[in-house]
């Protein structure tokens, strides 16, 4: 029979003994070290335990760490350099991302008569999708698609990438609450950059405060309700 030494939602640090014996299913093998029959945490994070039909599943949701690109992720990047037929984009990962001209423009591009700078310049922010990444090569981006492309308005908020799941919440509960309470539009990049578009300045400040609060208190429970309270309090104070 499996013995589990930690509780659901408990904060663990590297080297913490999680469970012993077989019969425990490891959901996040990257974050769990196996020494014989013992399972140890590899990272600071929250334990996630689910039990179904005598099977114990254990995983860790990290609280710290860099963003690792994943195919299909929506990210917000900054153009860092321009090549002849591609842009190099910073997506806060250990690898810089490449956006080729084929994945950016709808029409054929001739480098002799045209310049990439006309479309995206260094320092521009873009909402992009990761279309390829396999660890041996740099991630490839695309800005062809609905909601993707150059950012022309709004504010960018940077939070730790590991706290992004909390900003979205279970079944998008947190982000829906933020949208209805502040009336702002949120585009959440998986790399921890969030685009906020608000009707006015006060609401934008409140939205930023809310995001920073979620980042700071990501490991606590009942967060959605506390953030909602904070937003309502701030709105009343500012008369927004």
């Amino acid at each position: 029979m499996a013995r589990v030494y930690v509780q659901h939602r408990q904060v663990v640090v590297p080297g913490d003994l999680l469970a012993e014996d077989d019969g425990v299913v490891v959901e996040t093998p990257t974050y769990i070290e196996r020494v014989g029959k013992r399972l140890y945490a590899r990272i600071i994070g929250l334990v996630n335990i689910t039990t179904e039909e005598k099977k114990v599943r254990i995983g860790i949701i990290p609280l710290e760490g860099v963003y690792m690109p994943k195919v299909g992720d929506i990210v917000i990047g900054v153009v860092k350099d321009i090549g002849i037929t591609h842009w190099e984009v910073d997506i806060r990962a250990p690898y810089h991302a490449v956006l080729t001209v084929q994945e950016a423009l709808e029409h054929p591009f001739n480098p002799v008569t045209d310049s990439l700078r006309r479309y995206l310049d260094v320092g521009d922010y873009i909402v992009a999708k990761i279309i390829a990444f396999d660890r041996t090569r740099d991630p490839l981006l695309s800005i062809k698609g609905k909601g993707l492309g150059r950012i022309v308005e709004g504010a960018i908020v940077e939070i730790k990438p590991s706290r992004v799941p909390r900003v979205i919440g279970k079944k998008a509960s947190m982000i829906n609450m933020l949208k209805t309470e502040t009336g702002c539009e949120f585009i959440v990049g998986q790399n921890g950059r969030i685009l906020v578009k608000c009707p006015n300045r006060d609401l934008e400040e409140i939205a930023v405060l809310a995001l920073k609060m979620i980042e700071r208190e990501a490991h606590t429970s009942g967060l959605t309700e506390r953030v909602r309270e904070m937003i309502r309090r701030e709105k009343a104070r500012r008369g927004a």
């Binding site: 640090v13 590297p14 080297g15 590899r42 990290p62 710290e64 690898y95 208190e217 490991h219």
Partner: protein, 252 residues
């Protein structure tokens, strides 16, 4: 380090609670460590950081990354490179030390890297680079073990997956007696000095150096003594990491 003058008395016999015990020059028992202070997340610009004090020894570690490898030709196709820098501040010693990296510091940087490599999961970040900087703010013996303790905490704070935390402590033989956690004076006059670092949950020794002479029996006893100290430090390390999250909970 040039040792001059008469050798001070380092071990005395004192009667405590009707029992005769050996007491060291600073009042510690032979198997007692100096007061240890550990703090995590002390620097806001680094991805991860830690401050570790063993008595008068004080070190700060900072971690950057995993990030893009620079220079690019140094990157490895199957794992991240781990770069370590151990450096003593010019004001860390009684007499000013040159700020440039000395031969000793270059070697200790390598020793530090080799002590961390067995626990850092570099294969999760191919072609990337992890930078570890350790700055000795104040030196009173045992800086390399304090550096390892601090570096592993800074790595954990940065969210780099680790097989286990690493803690280090020195043991040595002073006036024929095995002692734990030597300070600078003891180190200068010791017959033997042995820094040890371990990954306790993995039951692995990641650093073992020795200066001087120990018999085989003494060596075994010294290693046991070091293990005892390391387990205590390991407990404090985890406590410090957890404290960072407990504090936020109180506010909310």
């Amino acid at each position: 380090m040039v040792v001059s003058g008469e050798k001070p008395t380092l071990i005395r016999k004192v009667v405590r609670d009707g029992k005769e015990v050996l007491v060291r020059h600073d009042g510690r028992l032979v198997d007692q460590m100096r007061p240890i202070r550990i703090e995590v997340g002390v620097l806001s610009n680094a991805d991860g950081s830690a401050l570790v004090e063993y008595g008068g020894t004080r070190v700060i570690a900072a971690v950057y990354g995993p990030k893009e490898a620079m220079p690019k030709y140094m990157s490895l196709p199957d794992r991240a490179i781990l770069r370590c820098r151990y450096h003593m501040a010019p004001f860390s010693t009684a007499e000013r030390k040159t700020p440039a990296l000395t031969r000793r510091e270059v070697e200790l940087s390598k020793v530090l890297r080799e002590a961390l490599e067995p626990v850092v999961l570099t294969e999760l970040f191919p072609r990337a680079m992890i930078d570890v900087f350790v700055e000795v703010i104040q030196s009173d013996g045992g800086t390399r073990t304090a550096a390892i303790t601090a570096a592993s905490l800074a790595l954990a704070d940065a969210g780099v997956p680790l097989k286990d935390l690493v803690a280090g402590v020195a043991v040595g033989k002073v006036d024929g007696v095995l002692v734990l956690d030597l300070d600078e004076i003891e180190d200068n006059y010791a017959e033997a000095d042995m820094p040890v670092a371990m990954a306790p949950s993995l039951n692995q020794v990641v650093l073992l150096q020795m200066n001087g002479v120990l018999t085989l029996e003494e060596f075994h006893a010294a290693l046991q003594l070091a293990r005892k100290g390391i387990l205590e430090i390991y407990r404090l390390q985890k406590e410090a990491l957890r404290r960072k999250y407990a504090e936020v909970k109180v506010e909310g």
